[in-house]
């Protein structure tokens, strides 16, 4: 099971990194979303069962999940949403000012502006 989870996280991470390294900015955004979710998946999968005794007395401690790992995952998920939306806004701003999504075009624009000044 843990091998399967590790492979899944690895595959997500690899797919995200591969997508992120493309020239198309929209794909870069998709790649970062994939990578963020791979990390959150890793947190959820890492330690589902609490290794310390839960503070509330329960019959079978093995059935109790660790709230801290889940709290971290939930917080990271919400923050991930926020940053993804912001990144999409940045991409929108790029399209509006440069009418392109290609990273190479941005580099060309920078070189041209520098030569002008």
């Amino acid at each position: 099971m843990s091998l399967l989870v590790a492979l899944a996280v690895g595959a997500l991470f690899a797919a995200g990194l591969n997508t992120m390294l493309r020239r198309d900015l929209f794909r870069v955004v998709c790649g970062t979303v994939l990578i963020t979710n791979a990390a959150i998946f890793a947190i959820v999968a890492l330690d589902p069962v609490r290794r310390q005794v839960p503070r509330l007395p329960v019959a079978d401690p093995a059935l109790v999940a660790d709230p801290l790992a889940q709290a971290v995952a939930l917080t990271a998920l919400v923050i991930g949403f926020g940053t993804s939306v912001f990144l999409l806004f940045v991409v929108l701003a790029v399209v509006r000012t440069h009418t392109t999504l290609d990273v190479a075009d941005l580099a060309t624009a920078e070189r041209e502006e520098r030569e002008e000044s």
């Binding site: 970062t32 890793a42 790992a69 940053t83 912001f86 940045v90 701003a93």
Partner: protein, 445 residues
Amino acid sequence: MTFLLPLAISWVSGIVLLGLDGNRRSARALGLLALVAVLAIDFALCVTFTAPQRVTTGGWPAEVGITLVADRLSLFFATTSAAVGLVVFAHGLPRGERDRGFPGWMLLLQAALHGMFFTNDLFNFYVFFELGVLTSFVLALHGYGRREIRGGVVYVVVNLLGSVLFLLGIALTYRSLGTLDFDALATRGQDAPFGGLLLVGTLLFVALGLKLGVFPFHGWVPALYAQARPAVAAVLAGALSNVGAYGLLRFGSTFLDAPRLEAAPFLVALGVAGALYGSFLAARRRTIAEAAAYAAVAHVGYILIAIGLGATTATLLLVLSGALDKTLIFASLELTRSGRRGLGLVAACSIAGLPVTIGFVAKMLLVRAALDTPIVVAAILTSAAFGLFFVARFSFAARSERTRHLVPPWAPTLLLIAVVGLGAWPAGVVRWAEATTVELAERGP
């Protein structure tokens, strides 16, 4: 309890200011007042410091409730960042149709920084870290011109990657040590298996190194600092990048002490490479902003050498001098030519490590810490020699370059007094830094 005031003041006033029109005089006055209060309380806490203050919310036992601690290290970083924030705010923020939110974001950045420095828990550190990163994204893009957006894209993508690595590092810390509380981590880190700690240490080092702009993760530094507005570059370079140094010191001297000692030669080598590379390029760049950005990369190299050598006193002095110099040099970009030649040149001299500046004191401490390894001393001195070319380049460029808009020079003048004053009488700061070294060693293993 008093140390919670700066956090609360900057947080509340930041949110209030986001709802107001930040172009108005009253809103700017409110922001300035809040920042003065934050700096005054931070400084008063430093002056009256006797023992670390500690607050746990809701009366919960430690490890369950949210614990905040103000020790010497946190107060040092908080005061430095508050001073940088105040100077940049007083120097003059951009005014315009789209700059209404600027004062609010500046205060929220202070809130995030204070949260990061005062928290005693890796989880809360992550939350404040993300708050700071998001605020810095908004600040970096401010203006929304073609230049700012191009610089911002690189910064946002690179820092998102850094956040993911930091998150993974936290997850693995919890997996291998079973806690996220700093005190519990410090005790449990001693008998934890080295392999797990090394993995955690590598992840956190890369994440914080991205934030700090360590060579070879420095790609975003020139892209952002040269393209963003001078006020933004000043506050991000002077205040936000300190987070990286704080994290490396705090974690590297407690639960990640073993991996740091093991990786010390590697850290020093990376620092030497960064210092030489950065100062070489800083001496060759055409525009002041770009040259200053590469000087910042070189400065991070010095910090890394100091951390690798375990010289906490030198690290703290380097952080302070870096924060003041970088703020002064980026703020001087908005001055008249004569103002830039006067104020900016002193900052350039401090960056190069010429005497009677805080930069000289910091680099002297670094050289003294490195005396056992002559090759490192040689590298530091070579890098400082390139710094002289940077000063020459700066005095030339300061005469010819155009400024976008001019601002009266009184706020940077205060910084100039700090740079030279601390350079002439460094005893107080050095004593504080030495006491911090002792305190860190006590809290560590």
